[in-house]
Structure formats: C-alpha cells, structure tokens
Subunit: 335 residues, 2 copies
C-alpha cells in the first residue's frame, strides 16, 4: 500500500498552507468559498482520506466508545441486546463516533480481564450494556473513563444509567386492564428475584392503589426462585380475571398453565406480559405486552455520553425511557 495523501500534500499541490486545507475541509467560515471548493476538488482528485489519528492525539479524544457486555446475554434465544446495540451504535455513528463492541466471556468477567480499548485509552467513554458482576464494574470504573450503564442500574455506584421505565409501564398496562373492567388482577413474578421485577410489581400495585383495589396476596404468584431459576407456576384456587406478568416468558408459561387447566385465554382470563420478546408472538394467543423503546434508549445514551465527553462529567442520574403497550389477543375487556 503506497503512502496515503495528507493535508500537507494537498497544501503543497495548491500552494497554500495546511492550516488552510484543514479549515477548508471542515468548512470553516475562515475560508473563502472559492478556495474551499478548490481544496475539496483537489482532495478528491488526489484520493485524500481524512486521517483521524492526528486529531485523536491533538484533542486526546478518539471519538470511539467502548460497549461492554456480558456473554451471558447472548445465548441461543437472546437477541434483545443485539437489537439494542444496533440502535446504540447507529446513534453514536450519527454523532461522528465509532463503537467498539466487547462481549466479555464468563472467564474474563471472572478474572476481571478488561478490553484492550480500555487499557490503552482507545475510547472516550464506556457503555456497560446489561448488568455485570460488581467486581467487574468496579474494575471498569477504575479507569476513570466516562461510563453509562445501559438497561440496568446499580445503587452501589453513582453512575448515570439509561433504563426502561418498568414502574410506569406496568402501571399503565394495569390501568388499561382496570379501564377494561377488570378489578380482580393478579401479578406473576418473584418480587425478590430482581430489581426490575420489583419495579414492575410496584407499578402494578400503584394502579391498584389509585383505583382503591385491595391487593390480594393469593394472586401474587412466583414464576422463579430467588436465584432466578424458573419454577412451576401454581395457580390459586380462585382465579382473578386478569394476570399482569413480569415478562413475556412468564406470561407464556402462565397461559400454557391456564390452558392445560382448561381455561380459555382471553375468554376466561386475560394475561399481559412485558418485553415484546419472541415468546409474545410465539404464544397462542399472542400476548399483549410492553415494548421497550430501544431506539430512544440508544439515542439518549449516545446523547448523554456526547455531553459528558464534550462538556465534562455532568451528572444525569437515572434516565427512564417510556415503553409502549402493544395490544394483541391475550387480554380483552371484561364483559
């Protein structure tokens, strides 16, 4: 590969200084229109390609962002974080940034082994996509590189995060059921398993409170043990008229359970889920659920990172992104 053309080469060819070339190429008001056009034309003719390495050193910015994510989120039927990555990366591209993507193996997460990009200051910021071990997060934060948690939060660290508004979404979807005439509404999910299940439960509970509906403990049903392993769902003796499930997989399993007990969904009982995952559409009937607004999550994360890098470490705290209710067949008004 022969040597690349630089601004200096263009400058020499045109008999101007490289400062002028630099300004012309970035469309600075300093330069006359005529000269700008000449510079751009010559650059094209000479096959010039801008070399960011000069700027990187000068500004001590690479305009690259590291996205770090645990291998455990990329199993056989997990596509959620790939979708989110896609949106995130697109948003950064629009702001002129490149994203490096590291899927951290179990081994590396265990041994606190961190990507080269972080070790060598090749990135201006880090997005941790999905919860990782506390120790690993600590290790990343030690590099003092602007960091955002995406799709999770962690009260132990005072780090900005962008997450779905779990609370508000179940509040809304429960309200929808109430407006449809339901007053006997259960919740399926172990509220001690994860913080996001807890938030989803609390949104459901708030909707009940606002409508002065008593919480019935028999209708709060576990879908998993405290270690997040799914367990058999036990239906209560007397059923409510609707179930709010903490996720689509649980909604799917609940529907299967109800069907095998001889109930019809949604004719006998309505069921709603959360996530709009594959389970929601594979289920029969298809599941009314909450779709996470990934595009907005990506956009906001990129925007906040951009501001942190450009304007110094402002603090944004928890940024909540609203989900959207997707109406399908698994829930219907109480007749």
């Amino acid at each position: 590969m022969n040597k690349r053309v630089t601004m200096k080469d263009i400058a020499e060819r045109l008999g101007v200084s490289k400062v002028t070339v630099s300004k012309a190429l970035k469309d600075s008001p300093d330069i006359s229109q005529a000269l700008k056009e000449k510079v751009i034309k010559t650059a094209q003719e000479m096959g010039y390609i801008y070399n960011a390495k000069g700027r990187m050193l000068r500004e001590n910015l690479t305009y690259s962002i590291g996205v770090i994510s645990s291998e455990k989120y990329y199993g056989k039927d997990d596509y959620f974080y790939i979708d989110l990555y896609k949106h995130l990366s697109n948003s950064f591209e629009k702001l002129g940034f490149t994203t490096t993507f590291n899927i951290i193996s179990r081994n590396d997460e265990e041994s606190l082994s961190v990507p080269n990009a972080l070790l060598e200051q090749k990135i201006d910021g880090v997005v941790i996509l999905g919860q990782m071990s506390i120790d690993y997060i600590k290790r990343v934060l030690d590099f003092n590189c602007p960091t955002i948690f995406l799709d999770f939060y962690c009260d132990r660290f005072n780090v900005d995060c962008v997450i779905t508004d779990n609370f508000f979404a179940t509040y809304e979807i429960t309200n929808m059921l109430i407006e449809q005439g339901h007053r006997e509404i259960g919740f399926v999910g172990n509220i001690h398993a994860t913080s996001s299940i807890q938030d989803r439960f609390l949104g459901y509970y708030k909707a009940l409170l606002e409508n002065r509906i008593e919480l019935n403990k028999d209708w709060i049903i576990k879908d998993r043990d405290d270690n997040n392993n799914f367990i058999d769902i036990l239906l209560p003796g007397k059923l409510p008229t609707a179930f709010v499930c903490n996720c689509d997989k649980t909604a799917y399993l609940t529907i299967e359970k109800l069907k095998s007990a001889g109930y019809k969904v949604p004719d006998d009982i309505s069921v709603v889920g959360f996530d709009d995952s594959l389970h929601a559409v594979l289920s029969s009937p298809k599941i009314t659920t909450v779709r996470v607004n990934m595009e907005e999550m990506g956009r906001r994360t990129a925007k906040i990172m951009f501001e942190k890098i450009k304007q110094g470490e402002k603090h944004y705290g928890k940024v909540l992104i609203k989900g959207k209710i997707i109406v399908r067949e698994s829930a219907k008004p109480l007749k």
Copy 2:
C-alpha cells in the same frame, strides 16, 4: 477529569528520559532490570495508563479492526453471526487489537453509507461478516484498507476470505450415510439459490460419484425459490432412504413434512442437516448435522489480518475451515 499522567511525567519524577520510560514499559532488553522495576512501580503509583493515541499517529496504525455486517443477518432467530463475531473479536483482542462493530441497516447498505471508522482511517483492516451487496462491497474496497470476507466469498473480487468448507462437510456427512448402508439418498435445497447451497450439493454429489451411486433427479428437491424465499417442500412419489438437507431449517421442515405424511424419522427415513442451528435441537427428533468451527474461523481471520497488516498485503485466497459432524437422532443405519 484531571489531566492524565504521561510517560513524560514518569520520566520527570524519576529523573530519566521518556525514551527510557517507554522502553522500560514495553520490557525492552535495552533497559536494566532494576530500572524497569522502578519505572513500572512509579507508573503504577502515579496511576499511569498507556495512551495508544501517540503510537497510532507514530505508526499510522490504530490496532483496530472494523467488522461490517448487514442488518439482515440479525433477525429474531439469528444468532449465528453474533457467535462468530464473539470469537472473531476475542481472537483480535488476543493479538492486541480492538474491534469496532457496525451492523449496516438496509438503508445504509442501499445508499452505500459507510461507517465513520472507515471514512476517517480509524481502522487498519476490515472484516465483512456475511455477504453484502456488490455495490456496498465495492464501496468498502475503495478505501484500500486490507479486507477479508468472512463466511462468504465473491469471485468478482480478488479478496481473501475465510469460509466453512461446505463441499467437504456434505461430502463427509453423505459418506457417513453411505457407510451406514444408505444407497438411495436425496438432497433438499435449491441449488440455484446460493453459492453455498451449490457447494453443499456438490459435496453430496461427489460422495455419490465415489461410491458409484447414480444421481436421481427426482430426489433433488427444492426448499426455496431462486430468491431465497422458502417454499413448500414437495415429497417425491418414491422416497429415498435418506435426505441430505442443505441447512437445519430445511431439515426441520423436511422432517415435519415427512411426519405429517405418516413417515417416521429416522425409522423409515434418515434426515441430516447443516449448521447446528437452533432448528437442529428444537426438532423432534434432533437433527444430525454439521457444526461450523466458529472458533477456528475467528482465529484464522484474525491471524491472516494480522499478517496482512504487519507484513504487507500478502494473498491468502480462499481459506476453508473444516466443519464437524454432530451425531443426533435424525439419522440411523439402514437395517
């Protein structure tokens, strides 16, 4: 964020030159052991983090590789390329490289819009992961950046590629069936749809030829139209005793078709697939198939790229990676 410590700071603290610091930190034989240890200790104390930006400019290398892949490979039940990316990225990390990952939207592929990393010489090489449009590939190659095609090839361009040995794998799996006593063996797949189906067909055909088994045209069955849209599989009047399918999804659909026609797999007829995808294990019976060696594909791609960058543009041509037969229940010896 306060200013970062540089080699100069360490040098001043120790009263040596920054050349010495640089050499000590990269463990050069030029420096005495005692001094090395002192430098490393001081660097740690001062919170020094190596800054690759200096080296990037100096060497005109970023030690970053761009991975470019079309959005169409990241649909709801596609995880294949994520797995491959993971291995690829790991292999590059081991060589000291960072990988940027761009999933190109349909729009961007159409409008030939290319990632920032390529526009600004932020990467030393490009891996195109999975076939993209000819025009898009052309646009990428125009940047004159060392490029490797991963998991596809394209005779129009004289570009190195790393691919699964489709031909050899179906040759082997067909031979396995023949050794099990099968002599009436069909092939399911449209041999005009893609080049890899063609290669898989030819491997199957070679196994027949070697064993002097006549090719029966009635047993070459289409699974899709020429535009890659799946179509209903039409079973022939007289069935062979085994089917070699061009992929697991097709094997899955073939098995479903056979079952609904009243046949038992593998008792009445054996079926084998290719890819070891989700379909292979979701199917009942589970499918005997060929597993692509992703780890090796990633490793070889990284190694070849490394050599191209370090030793100049050697030519490697088509690098074939052997797959591995995974034996499951969908095929059995002819009694």
